[in-house]
Amino acid sequence: MGPLVDFLPDSDKGKATMILNNDSTITDMLDKLQIKRKVVVAVNGDEEKGLDHVLSDGDEVLVFTVISGG
C-alpha cells in the first residue's frame, strides 16, 4: 500500500467502502478523502476516466500515486 492509505477513514489493507452523494464525481470523492495531491485513478479498471467522471453505485475506484523510480 502506498502513502494514500493514510487518507482512508477505516483502512483495511488499503480498501474502504465510501458512501457518496448522488452524482458525485471522482474529484468529490478525492475531496472527501482530503487527497490534495496528484493521483492516477482507475474506475472499474478503466484509467481513462477524467476527474469529472460521475461515479455510480458499486464502482470500484483505484487511486495511485505516480512515482517513476525506486
Binding site: 500500500m1 502506498g2 502513502p3 494514500l4 492509505v5 493514510d6 489493507k13 488499503g14 490534495k36 495531491r37 496528484k38 493521483v39 492516477v40 479498471g45 484509467e47 481513462e48 483505484l62 495511485f64 500515486t65 505516480v66 512515482i67 517513476s68 523510480g69 525506486g70
Partner: protein, 646 residues
C-alpha cells in the same frame, strides 16, 4: 569568484602515484554542469577505444555537480562513469547520502582516476589537500568495518567514505560503490572497476562550503520545499519511502513477479512499504520510526531512506546497513517469489556490506530460479542449493556466495547474461537483460515508453532515465514546462510517446549531470518543478540559464554516452529487449495477457532514433547532432568515431 563549484578537479594516476589538480574555466562548468556529463568529458578524452573494463586504462570519473553541497533538498548526489564490466558498454551510476556534499567541502568537484596501484590504497581528500594512503589493512573488510576503522585511524567521526566492499575486490561484475555503509552508486559495476584499480576507498572531509550568488532567491526556493511537500505527496513519500509503491505497482499490474513473468504478486502486502514501516523499521515497537527508522541525505527534508534492524534469528541485521528500497524489495522479493521481509532486509544488508547492486543481484538470482523451475539447473549446478521460487534461505545464502565468488556464486557473479553463456542449455530464454544489465522493477509491458528506453539507454535497462508513462497524463502543468502537451492513452507506443520518452530522458539526463536527486527535481511527481530546477541553478550560479539550455545539457550527456558505445562498436543491434517480453504474455492481475508486439516496438524504436537524430540503421548519433551539441571534438579526436559517425 566562482559560485557552486570549487573549480578543482583532481586527476589521479594510481600506477604512478601521481596527483594533479586541474582548474577548468567557468564555460566548462556551464557546458557540462557536473555529474555524468562532466565525467564523460574525461572518459571520452582519456579512455582508449576497446579498453578492457578491468584494464588500468579504464578511466573512472567520480563527479559532483554545480549544486552539490548547497543547503537545499536533493543536491547531494555523485555520479560515477567508466566502461562497464557488466555490459561492455558505458557504465553510469548515481548515489546520494552525505559523501557528495562532503567531497565538495573537501575542496574538489570531481576525481578522475586511471591506472592501477601496485597495492591497495585509499584516496584522502581533506581541506583542499589530496593524498594516497595505504589500504592493505582495509582490503577484505566489509564496508561497515572499513568505515569504522578509517574513522578511528583518522580520529574524525565526520569523515565520509565512498568505498568498495569485498565484492568489488572480487570483481563481481555488478559490484557497487557504497557510502555510509548503506548508500550505493549501484548499477553497471562501478565497484568492480574501482576494485580492479586496487583503490579501496575515497575518504573526504572539509569545510569549504560553496558560495551562492543570489542568497535571497535561494532562500525562496528553500521555503518552497515546505510549501510543495503536501501538494506533491512528498510527505507520504518520505514516510513510507520508495517501498510504498510495492502494492500500488501490484494493483496496477506492474510489480515484476517470478522473473518478470507476471505483474501480479499475491503476497505484495508482505513486502510493501506499510509493512516495512509498521513492523520492521527501527523504532517501530514504540511507534518512533520517524526518529529512528528514517534517514536522509545532506540537507534533504524528505527523509525517504529506510533504517531496518533485526536483533535476532537467522537474518540478524545491523541498522548501519540501512533498509531496502522498492527496487530491492521487488528484486529479492516478488522477482524471486519471496515474501519474507526479514530475508529481504538481510539480503539488502549483505549487498551493502559486501558492496553489490541489489537490482542486478536479486534479478540474477530470480533468473537462476526460473532456470531451476524450468529444469535447466539442478542441485549438481548449485552445489546442493534448492534454488526454487520462494526459497528465502537459498536467496540469502546465494547472495553471500556471489559476493565471495564461492561455489555457484562464482557463475552468478558474472551477471545473468554471462552466466547464461557459461551454462548454455537454453537458459538465455529466461534473461531479463538489456545490454547485459538486469531490468529494474518497472515493467515495459505496462509502461510502454520504458520498453524503448530500456533498450536504447546507453548503459542498459534503467528506470531513472526518463519519466514513466502515467506521469504524462497526471502532471499536465509540469509537462507543459518541457513542451509536452499531448498525453496519450494507456499502453500507447506511438510517436508522441516517443517524444515524451526522449524529452523526459533529456531532463533526467540533465538531472544526472547537474547531479541532483530524481525524486526532488524532475518532470512529474518530484518536490520541485523543472522550472524550479532552472531557478535553483541561477540562484546558486548567478547564471541566466533557461529550460532549453538545461534540456540541451541532458541531450549532450546522452549523446556522449551514446558516442562512447559507438566507438566500442555498439549500436542498434544492442538496443534490444529480453525475448520473453515479446513472446510470453504476462499472467494474472490487471496486466494479464500483456505482451509487446515486436513490429510495433521496432517502429517505435525507429521513431525514437529519428527524434534523437540518430542513424536508423546503425543507431549512432549523427555528426550534425554531435556538432550542434558542441561535441564535434568527440568525433574529431577519435579515428574510430570519425569512421562510424557521419
Amino acid at each position: 569568484m566562482s559560485y557552486g563549484y570549487t573549480g578543482k578537479i583532481l586527476h589521479v594516476n594510481l600506477s604512478k602515484s601521481e596527483l594533479e589538480i586541474e582548474e577548468p574555466d567557468e564555460q566548462f562548468y556551464r557546458t557540462y554542469m557536473g555529474g555524468s556529463a562532466m565525467g564523460m568529458h574525461y572518459v571520452l578524452k582519456e579512455t582508449p577505444v576497446g579498453v578492457d573494463p578491468f584494464s588500468p586504462d579504464n578511466v573512472l570519473a567520480l563527479c559532483t555537480g554545480i549544486l552539490t553541497g548547497t543547503p537545499i533538498s536533493g543536491q547531494s548526489r555523485l555520479t560515477s562513469v567508466a566502461k562497464s564490466p557488466l555490459t561492455g558498454c558505458i557504465g553510469d551510476a548515481q548515489g546520494g547520502g552525505y559523501f557528495p556534499a562532503e567531497m565538495k567541502f573537501s575542496g574538489f568537484d570531481a576525481v578522475i582516476i586511471k591506472g592501477r596501484s601496485p597495492k591497495p590504497v585509499y584516496l584522502w581528500l581533506h581541506h583542499g589537500e589530496a593524498e594516497l594512503c595505504d589500504a592493505s589493512h582495509l582490503w577484505g573488510l566489509t564496508t561497515g568495518d572499513a568505515e569504522d576503522k578509517l574513522k578511528e585511524e583518522l580520529d574524525d567521526k565526520r569523515i565520509e567514505v565512498l568505498q568498495i566492499g569485498p565484492a568489488g575486490e572480487n570483481l563481481v561484475r555488478y559490484s557497487a560503490l557504497i557510502s555510509m555503509s548503506n548508500r550505493a552508486n549501484g548499477r553497471t559495476g562501478m565497484g568492480a572497476v574501482m576494485g580492479s584499480k586496487n583503490l579501496k576507498a575515497v575518504v573526504v572531509r572539509g569545510k569549504m562550503k560553496p558560495a551562492i550568488a543570489n542568497p535571497e532567491k535561494f532562500k525562496e526556493l528553500q521555503k518552497l520545499a515546505k510549501a510543495n511537500l503536501e501538494p506533491t505527496g512528498m510527505d507520504g513519500f518520505g514516510k513510507y519511502g520508495t517501498p510504498g509503491v510495492c502494492s500500488p505497482q501490484h494493483r496496477a499490474g506492474g510489480l515484476p513477479t517470478y522473473n518478470f513473468n507476471s505483474g501480479n504478486f499475491d503476497k505484495h502486502e508482505e513486502i510493501d512499504g506499510h509493512k516495512l514501516y509498521n513492523e520492521h523499521l527501527r523504532g517501530h515497537e514504540k511507534d518512533d520510526q520517524n526518529r529512528f527508522g528514517r534517514d536522509t541525505c545532506f540537507s534533504c527534508s524528505i527523509k525517504c531512506k529506510r533504517v531496518a534492524q533485526i536483533d535476532e534469528g537467522p537474518f540478524k541485521t545491523e541498522a548501519k546497513y540501512g533498509g531496502p528500497e522498492y527496487e530491492t524489495l521487488a528484486t529479492f522479493g516478488s522477482y524471486c517469489g519471496i515474501s519474507d521481509m526479514d530475508a529481504i532486509i538481510h539480503a539488502n544488508a549483505l549487498c551493502n556490506m559486501y558492496g553489490m547492486d541489489t537490482i542486478s543481484c536479486g534479478a540474477t538470482i530470480a533468473w537462476a530460479m526460473e532456470c531451476w523451475e524450468e529444469g535447466k539447473l539442478t542441485m549438481k549446478d548449485t552445489g546442493g542449493i534448492e534454488l526454487k521460487y520462494g526459497n528465502a534461505e537459498a536467496m540469502v545464502k546465494i547472495t553471500e556466495m556471489i559476493a565471495k565468488r564461492e561455489g555457484f556464486g562464482e557463475i552468478l557473479a558474472e551477471g545473468s547474461k554471462k552466466a547464461a553463456e557459461i551454462i548454455g542449455r537454453g537458459t538465455e530464454e529466461y534473461l531479463i537483460t538489456s545490454k547485459g544489465q538486469e531490468a529494474p522493477a518497472h515493467m515495459p509491458q505496462v509502461k510502454r515508453s520504458l520498453s524503448v528506453i530500456y533498450a536504447a539507454n546507453p548503459f542498459g535497462a534503467d528506470h531513472e532515465s526518463s519519466e514513466h508513462d502515467p506521469g504524462y497524463k497526471a502532471y499536465p502543468e509540469r509537462m507543459k514546462e518541457i513542451g509536452l502537451t499531448n498525453p496519450q492513452e494507456k499502453l500507447a507506443l506511438n510517436k508522441e510517446m516517443m517524444r515524451f520518452a526522449m524529452i523526459t530522458q533529456h531532463l533526467s539526463s540533465a538531472v544526472d549531470s547537474i547531479s541532483v536527486c530524481a525524486f526532488i527535481f524532475g518532470a512529474s511527481f518530484q518536490l520541485y518543478t523543472p522550472e524550479q530546477l532552472v531557478q535553483a541553478i541561477n540562484a546558486v550560479m548567478g547564471w541566466n540559464v533557461d529550460m532549453e539550455e538545461i534540456l540541451e545539457v541532458g541531450e549532450r550527456r546522452l549523446n556522449m554516452l551514446r558516442a562512447f558505445n559507438s566507438r566500442e562498436g555498439v549500436g542498434r543491434e544492442s538496443d534490444t529487449l529480453p525475448k520473453k517480453m515479446f513472446k510470453r504474455p504476462l499472467k494474472g492481475g490487471r496486466s494479464d495477457g500483456y505482451v509487446l508486439n515486436e513490429e510495433e516496438w521496432e517502429a517505435a524504436l525507429e521513431d525514437y532514433y529519428r527524434l534523437c537524430d540518430w542513424d536508423v540503421e546503425t543507431g549512432h548519433p549523427s555528426l550534425k547532432k554531435m556538432e550542434s551539441l558542441g561535441l564535434g571534438w568527440v568525433v574529431a579526436e577519435n579515428n574510430v568515431l570519425s569512421e562510424v559517425i557521419n
